[in-house]
């Protein structure tokens, strides 16, 4: 029954291990806290952009999982720091000893699992953003005019504010507005011949114009914003063809939002990777410290050498022991103990 990965730990290396572990645990707590805060930030950003992301997009799961992983990492770091501090003092160690066992299990299974899951999501989910944004922005564009339809009445305000804040226009460019009726029929004069012509020239009966809303206007343009009759080169005299992009925002909102959210996800992914690394180191160190101190049986400051190990025996032996213990637990306990005690007592008198 050889222990897995044993490490001999005399007093000085034990102290060094505890001190190094204390530092690493605080670093882990810091990393966990930062991950927590950043995933909260991502969650708030997603909440603001929820109108433009299709509800079926699974991206919203990432900040929640990262939040949980960050919380577990923070907890592991704090308890690890307390334990490693207490392990240097024999009087303080016993209460921490009881916490250490469950902590290692929770930290490895729960924390490690959550972190791996969050990392996986951070790598895989941004791909689904493309379709989610495409659908969401398309819906918002179509409902821009529906300011009196319950459920869509905020689309105009939110899309205007999005275009003003993120400096973008339309989905992939300003021409997207030409294919959508963004002027509500309530404000169209039914007696105006131009309006009637436009509606009749269209299969679906939509009022389409070659104009854009005011929120597409670029304040950096030297001339007052040109919003209407954009496809007619003769409509606006003195329009400088060398500066066509300055009049409106050149980028589409799809590209801008995709870049923004993917950037946030990749930063969160790197923070999760660092937290994962730190958590692995801290849990390994805590396990070695725990097994080394178990070997001393209470004399923590003793000069003796002990062995720290990861597992007391190989994986097969461990499973067999666990199986046997599980089987033994089904039999009633008091009947079992006297027959076990009897044979060793008989041994020494015989000798």
């Amino acid at each position: 029954m050889a222990p897995v990965l044993p490490l001999v730990l005399p007093l000085q290396p034990r102290i060094r291990l505890a001190q190094g572990l204390w530092l690493l645990s605080w670093l882990l707590a810091l990393a966990g806290g930062l991950t927590l805060l950043y995933s909260g930030h991502l969650q708030v950003q997603l909440w603001h952009l929820s109108t433009f992301l299709a509800p079926s997009c699974p991206f919203a799961a990432l900040p929640r999982v990262a939040l949980a992983a960050g919380a577990v990492a923070l907890g592991t770091g704090l308890v690890g720091a307390g334990t490693s501090r207490a392990s240097l003092d024999a009087a303080q160690y016993p209460p921490w000893r009881k916490v250490l066992g469950p902590l290692l299990v929770v930290g490895t299974a729960g924390g490690g699992g959550l972190l791996v899951l969050a990392l996986g999501l951070a790598l895989a989910l941004p791909g689904s953003l493309d379709t989610g944004l495409e659908e969401g922005l398309g819906t918002a564009l179509v409902h821009y005019k529906d300011t009196e339809v319950p459920g869509h009445c905020h689309a105009k305000r939110l899309l205007d504010e999005l275009q003003l804040r993120h400096h973008c226009c339309g989905r992939h460019g300003y021409k997207d507005w030409f294919g959508v009726q963004w002027v509500s029929s309530r404000y169209l004069d039914p007696n105006d011949q131009d309006v009637v012509d436009r509606i009749q020239s269209n299969v679906e009966g939509l009022y389409l114009i070659d104009g854009v809303p005011f929120s597409c206007c670029n304040p950096h343009s030297p001339r007052p914003c040109l919003q209407n009759r954009l496809s007619d080169p003769h409509a606006h005299p003195l329009f400088d063809p060398r500066q066509p992009n300055l009049n409106l925002w050149a980028q589409g909102c799809h590209g801008v939002l995709l870049g923004h959210l993917q950037g946030l996800a990749s930063t969160l992914g790197s923070m999760l990777a660092v937290t994962f690394l730190l958590q692995t180191l801290v849990l390994l160190g805590l396990r070695y410290l725990q097994t080394a101190l178990e070997g001393l049986r209470g004399v923590i400051d003793g000069e003796g050498e002990t062995q720290g190990y990861l597992f007391p025996s190989g994986l097969k032996d461990m499973l067999q022991t666990a199986w046997r213990q599980g089987g033994v637990a089904h039999r009633p306990a008091p009947e079992e103990t006297p027959p076990e005690e009897a044979p060793p007592k008989e041994g020494p008198p015989e000798a």
Partner: protein
Amino acid sequence: MALLKVKFDQKKRVKLAQGLWLMNWLSVLAGIVIFSLGLFLKIELRKRSDVMNNSESHFVPNSLIGMGVLSCVFNSLAGKICYDALDPSKYAKWKPWLKSYLVVCVLFNIVLFLVALCCFLMRGSLESTLAHGLKNGMKYYRDTDTPGRCFMKKTIDLLQIEFKCCGNNGFRDWFEVQWISNRYLDFSSKEVKDRIKSNVDGRYLVDGVPFSCCNPNSPRPCIQYQLTNNSAHYSYNHQTEELNLWVRGCRAALLSYYGSLMNSMGAVTLLVWLFEVSITIGLRYLHTALESVSNPEDLECESEGWLLEKSVSETWKALLESLKKLGKSNQVEAEGADAGQAPEAG
């Protein structure tokens, strides 16, 4: 008859010194807070100096920065004094300086109070600066090809979008200014020629506003031109339409922003002033308690601390007397010098 006498035994003195030491270090933090508040206000004023004609007064942020630095210096010094006060040998080197230091502290507190008052009073000067600055900004809106003013359009547009405002007092200010540059006017068009002729100064004035005045909360697409002509737009009444453009003027919007900023800074400074006054009073009590220790060898003895040795009126009279003596001693010296010179001459 001393003012507000308090008896101090050894334990009370020690407690006073320790409490004062802690309060002084907290006050250093408060000084750092005031410094950063002053710095923040300075940066905010700098950011929008374009619409304030670059002539805004930086008196308040500069004085807050100065007060923060002074507060840090004085309070760390006072903390050191309080720390040394418990050890008679160390305290002996501070003893001769303490009285003048307390006078300096009182002066510092008076100046801090005045700075806190200034925070509340600066609003008036800011209002006139903003009115002039915004008026000029709107005048130069169209000069996007004049060096030195080419950024004014961008500044005003971004200002109106960020602060949700339009014009100086309201959107009608744009009707009185030519905000469309002559470069983008088609002078062959009859409409343009009519407008320019109808105006004494030959300006092209429209009843329209720039796009940055538009309110995204409006249910209909923004109406920017022909605002006073109801028949130009379907189902539009300019007298009842409220959501189309921002209603607030940019002067009121900026004034309320800076006003609330400076009010909160003034409130924080007043709190710090109260804290500083209590520290000065505590330091005075510690000073007089340690001075009045009758037997320097016996540390356990009781002593008395007070704010002023005599009552307020007596102290004031004594101060006037000492000032007069100072004046008289100058006179006597002058007379002595004259008398000295006269026998030499004569």
